[in-house]
Structure formats: C-alpha cells, structure tokens
Subunit: 374 residues, 2 copies
Amino acid sequence: MQENDRDLLPEGLGDRLPQQAWASQAVRRAAHDVLASHGYTRVETPVLEFEKALASRMAGVQVRRMFRFMDPVSLRTLALRSDITAQVARIAATGLAQAPRPLRLSYSGQVVTVKGDGLDPARERLQLGAELIGTDSIDAVAEIVELAIETLRAAGATGVSVDFTLPDLVDTLSAEALPLPAANIEAVRRMLDSKDAGGLVDAGGETYLPLLYAVGPFDAAIERLAAFDVDGVLASRIAGLRAIAARVSDKARLTLDPSERHGFEYQSWLGFTIYADGIPGSMGRGGTYAILGGAGLDPEPATGFSLYPDRLIDVLVSGSSEERKLFLPLGHDREVAARQRAIGWITVAALSEGDDAVALGCSHRLESGEALEI
Amino acid sequence: MQENDRDLLPEGLGDRLPQQAWASQAVRRAAHDVLASHGYTRVETPVLEFEKALASRMAGVQVRRMFRFMDPVSLRTLALRSDITAQVARIAATGLAQAPRPLRLSYSGQVVTVKGDGLDPARERLQLGAELIGTDSIDAVAEIVELAIETLRAAGATGVSVDFTLPDLVDTLSAEALPLPAANIEAVRRMLDSKDAGGLVDAGGETYLPLLYAVGPFDAAIERLAAFDVDGVLASRIAGLRAIAARVSDKARLTLDPSERHGFEYQSWLGFTIYADGIPGSMGRGGTYAILGGAGLDPEPATGFSLYPDRLIDVLVSGSSEERKLFLPLGHDREVAARQRAIGWITVAALSEGDDAVALGCSHRLESGEALEI
C-alpha cells in the first residue's frame, strides 16, 4: 500500500485540526446554551439504529440516502443516522410519550449520508437543532424561527436571513380553489419549484402562474400572494406568515418563496430556510411536521429547526484570536501551575530540555512564580 | 410491523433522555476544559473512514471489532471508528506531522463496535481522551496519568484508582533474563494473565511464578517486583513506575498488576487502567505506544489515555439537582424575558392557554416583570 493511500480519507469525510475543532466546540456550546435558556432540554441518540425505526415516525424520510448494513447480532438492517430529527420524533413518541406537552427538546451530533448534497460533497455533517413537540401553531413557529435566528447569531453568524415557504401549497390549492387533474399535480409542483413559467402552462397549471411572482422580499411577496388568493383558501396561512414575520422582522432579513420544496420532505403547512452572510448555501431549515403515532393513534403536530454549522465553523476559524499560553519550565512548582490554570491560563509543561516555549506556541513563561511575557 | 418492533433499538444502542444528556454535556465540557487548560488542543475526526486507514498507524488495532461495509463512492471498505486514538495517530502522522513536538491533542466522540465487551453489552460508547505525541518518557507518562485523574475528577468521579501494568513484560524478560521457547511465550502470557500458577508451570514458565505475587497495592507490589528482578532487566521500568507513582500517589489509590494485558493491544512499555468508586468496570485506560511511520520513517513514541464516561454519566444523573425554570405567561414582555435569560434563568414560554407552568417543570412564574416562586 502506498504511503498516501493508507492515510487518504474517503470523499466527503474529513478531520478538524485544532483551530477548526476549537471553533466547532465554541459553536456547539454557544448554541446549546441558548437552547437551554429557552427551556429546550438536550437528548442524545445513537449514531446507528434499525433502518425501519429511522423511517417509521415521519413521512418522507429517505432511507436511500443512509449507509445501511446488516447487524450480525440481530440479523436486521442497521442504518447510520442521516437526520437526528427523526430520532427525536421517535423519542417523543416512545420514551417521552408521557412527558407534558409542549415538549421542548434539543440535540446535536454527526449525521452521515451515502452521497453529498448537490454542490456540497460533504457526507458527514454536524446537525444541531431544537424540536417543539405537541404544537404546530403560529406561536410555535414564531418561537422556533426566533430561536433559530438567536442560536445562529450566538454561534457567530451575522446577517441572518430567513426564507419562508408553504410546503403543502399545491395540495391546498388543488384540493379546493384551483383543481388539477391528479396526474398533473406532480408536474405542476416541479415547474413551480424550478420557476419555469412555460413548463407550468404546459403542465396545465396556468392558473398557478401568479405564484411565480409571489417571491422575494417578504412584505411585497406576501401582498402578491394575498392578491392571488381571491378565494381565501390560503387566508389562515397568510395570516400566520404575517404574524411570524412580525415577530422576527427586526432580527433577520425575510423573504418568501411559497412554492419552494427542496429539503422539505416531511414539513406540513410551513417551512423555512435560514442563511447567513458569507456562508455559501443554507445554514439549515425548519418548519412544522407530524410525528406518526402508533396503531390507532393520531399523528402529533410538531415544529422544529436543524442547523448544519460546518461551513460557519470554517469561517470562524480564520477569525479566531490567538490563545495566551504559559510555558512551565522543567522543575516548575506544580502548585503554582495549578493556580495559574485556575485563573484561566493554558499551561504547557516542559518534558525535556529540548522543549521550546516559542515553538510550542507559548506567549508567556513561568519564572519565580510569575507569568512573564516571552 | 408491531408498534414495539419499529421503535425497538438494537442491542447495545440507546438514547439519552434529558437528565442523562444534561450529565453527558456537563462531563464533556468539564473534561475538555481541564484538557485545554493543560495545553491539549482539540481535534475532531470522522465517524467512519477507510478500514485500512483505521488500522494502519498502530499495531494491534482490531478491525474485526468494527462495523465494515462498502463505500458506493470509492468502492472501498469503510469502517465505523471503534477507537479515536488510532485516528488521532493518523492526524499526528499526516496533517500535523510538521507541528512541533511534544504535540498535545484531545478529543471526544462516539465509538462503535460490532459486539459488546465482556459483561458490558454496550456497542456505542463515548470516548474522551488526550494524546501526548513525540515522547513516551517517564515525565510524559506522569503528565498523562495525572491528567487522566484530574479529568476524571472534574467530570464528577470520586475515589479514583490507577492500576499499572507493563505490557511488554514477558517479551522483555524472555529476551534476556528468563528465556522461554518461542512456542511457549503466548501460553506463559495467558497463564500470567489469568493468574493460573499451575498452568504457568505446565507452560514451562515456573521461573515467572513470582510475578503472580507482585500484584496489589503499589508500594508492596513494586518491592516484590524489584526483588524478583535479580538481573536488573526491569530496573529502568521499575524506576519509572516509582517516579510516576510518586507524582500521583496523593491523588489516587495505586495498584500494580505487571502482567495484566486486557485492553492493551498497542501499548509499549507502560499501561494503566483507571477506576472510580461506584462505577462498575474500568473508566478507561492509557499508556505508551508507537505511531507507525511511513516508508523508511521510524515509529514515533506517544503516550495517552482514553476514558469511557458512559457509566459515570448514568451515576451523575441520579445526583443532579433540579433546575430553576421561569414560566412566561401568554403575552409576556419579551424584553424582560430576554433579560431574565441573560442573568441565568431558563425560560419556558406559554404557547396556549392550556400550557401549565407546574406540569412543564417551572419553579417560578414571570409576573409584572418579576420572577415569583410558584
């Protein structure tokens, strides 16, 4: 085997060296402190479980994106988790089924997919988020959107923007006001998604054309959506969007793209994507969804968000400041060194004559019980 | 599929519900703060990589204990990590090959094995540790043992004890002072390991019998080991053990079991196992080892430790105190709520008339801008 070959990492998988790993730790701590302060208590889930369990509690979970393999103990198929939200839904429906609602849970951990997503080759990502279980009301969405923005800012992001969508828009419209042949619904969805006016007309969706213009900065786009909704079938959704927007309009730039579907496999009436300045692609997404119940039990409404902070962490690295490190020479007083750590110093103890304070990144040196600048 | 079936977790895999997850976060934060204060900077590694890379940098890594499966992208075999130390060794030999030595790195993350270990059915564990790369000297071991004890105490463990071993003891003795037929070496190792005096004699290892009595509390056992070592082939190891013990004897109970091998697949001259009061089994282990170099390059000496805090976390849960949570009634002043969080309150906002402060675990209620006890 070649030297390079044995150390090569698989495509889309990588290490974090010290500066990046420091930023990663800082992001996770800041995010969890915000989530905890709003009453979201943390849960932890296994990195792999039965494939069927990962897909059983939410509609639209794609097991095809997961690494799957046989468990030699149970002889059943295991899968690496690709989305912690589905695991939290399982916990809410089982171990915490009796906990009072609304139930506020948070989590973070690594998720893995077989292939990267579009232009992003990463196959392992940090997922961090919150789920508010038992409600998908306007107030629930407003709390979740506001919390997503606050979490992202605490993690170091600036210039946050939120793009709202209505994942069940075509279903709602075609059921009542603007009927479509069942065979055409998927094509209409697709053409709206790709903003293809000609294709939309070809698919028999000419009555849906105005939706292509209800897109952009929130205040103008929501007016165009309301003007389009002459029959009022979207009235409660539009009122909800306005109320949610009013709650967060001073914290983020808001846009509307009512027919956007990408990434909203399991969301119900509302979805949102969140962005930050200087970070390519989105930072995460969220919205309302349903947790499937057991036999004879109704689905339970829920609202949540997930952030994928890896790219933010890459940006934060370049901005992180130098540490103040104290070199402890051979034969130093260990009690003094412990006191220096207790007041916040990072210490680096010499282990041999050759250990060089400057090469080891130290800014200070312990001499006669004091930290002297090098 | 049955209700219970689809939510069943595979044997040896489980969730952490809020109290446990809170303890887990507290343990990781406290541990990393101690490691960082001693100049150990964090690295993060992928949860899976090429099977060959995971086994290439250290002798004795057992790929048979790992989940392995084909990568559809590279068409090569991937494995779930079962030991982060091997990944840190890879980083030290590649991405951080040019970093000044001694190089101090720390890490934590989930590791997975195909089967549980002996009496412990867990197949996923939290591994947390530190590696000191570039040296396996007595001072290096002393720093690592002391740091392992301090980390474990900061994580909440009490009554820490450390059991030292000499992983290459039989190799060293049989090479010089007490020669053994090559065919008998493995049997002698095994009989020493199982403390089987009769079997040891049968294996031709009667000259090794005194080792079975150089076991127990450190001060007495090291004297017996020294008395046994009439030719002085163990003299430097014994002196090293004494120096290391002197450094930590006021921080932990110390014992010696010079021929213990379990869990020391890749350690060189020194290994140790660490225990805490009230925690079944060991909390972790450490010692000296070698990082294999590339073609024509010498192995690099290293020293480190790994802790597996899951059982400690289970114990800490029962001891954790109640949180002070502030209920925010419907229509509360959001500015006031934000100020309460800023001074340390956990807030829980009402989302509907039905939300009950007491059921939601709140100890206080926001009224007229003040937190009143319920």
